[in-house]
């Protein structure tokens, strides 16, 4: 019971049930510009690991960060992020 509750808290799949999987073009846009994850992170004010997590789909950015990303690449948010 306890383990189940803890597993539920940590279960990313459960969170994704609330927040549908969001694919994005961040990696493609970044590599097209020859940028590193650290460079993009510095430009956005987040860590390299956070950029990596966003690109890998492990972390969905907040709306302000998604907008910041989109503006950085000169795109609309819905052009960069695709909800299944």
């Amino acid at each position: 019971m306890v383990m189940r509750r803890m597993t539920r808290t940590l279960d990313i799949g459960r969170w994704k049930a609330y927040f549908p999987y969001v694919d994005n073009d961040v990696r493609r846009l970044r590599t097209e510009r020859g940028m590193s994850q650290a460079g993009l992170g510095a430009a956005l004010g987040v860590s390299r690991q956070t950029v990596n997590a966003i690109e890998a789909g492990r972390y969905d950015p907040s709306l302000p960060l998604a907008i910041k990303l989109a503006r950085y690449f000169g795109r609309a948010v819905e052009e960069m992020f695709h909800v299944d």
């Binding site: 803890m6 808290t9 004010g45 860590s47 960060l65 910041k68």
Partner: protein, 137 residues
């Protein structure tokens, strides 16, 4: 989670040194308490545990994200979310321990008061948090 809070390396001098300083101070306080109780041995053990933790955290800080998270290093919205969820798991474990401890003490017919007060504090904190956070969300 505002992007205003996402400056690179967001973590002031106070934040980045809070964990080590608190660890060092707690170790000294524990030593002082044990010395006042004429138990220098236990005091030194507690000091070593606290200072050891601080040393490990400082070593890990520059070696990866986990170290930075433990040491209160630079943060962003994702790291804040990690801390929040880790805190939630910690809270759940503590609540279960409190409830089980309370039950065990009751079955043994022992004093349940410390468990009762801690349980009441946990329950009240949770209740007030839900009310306060709900009103702001």
């Amino acid at each position: 989670m505002s992007t205003e809070n996402e400056r690179p390396g967001r973590s002031g001098v106070y934040e980045s040194w809070a964990v080590p300083v608190v660890g060092v101070v707690l170790g000294v306080v524990m030593l002082a308490i044990q010395v006042s109780r004429d138990d220098v041995g236990l005091g030194l053990v507690l000091l070593a545990v606290m200072w050891g933790y601080v040393a490990i955290v400082l070593l890990l800080r520059r070696r990866g994200e986990i170290g930075e998270l433990l040491a209160g290093g630079p943060t962003d919205e994702r790291r804040d979310a990690i801390q929040l969820r880790a805190l939630a798991v910690t809270g759940q474990v503590l609540i279960v321990v409190l409830v089980v401890g309370f039950m065990v003490q009751m079955v043994r017919g022992a004093d349940t008061q410390p468990w009762t007060w801690l349980g009441a504090l946990g329950g009240a904190t949770y209740l007030l948090s839900v009310v306060a956070i709900r009103s702001r969300s």
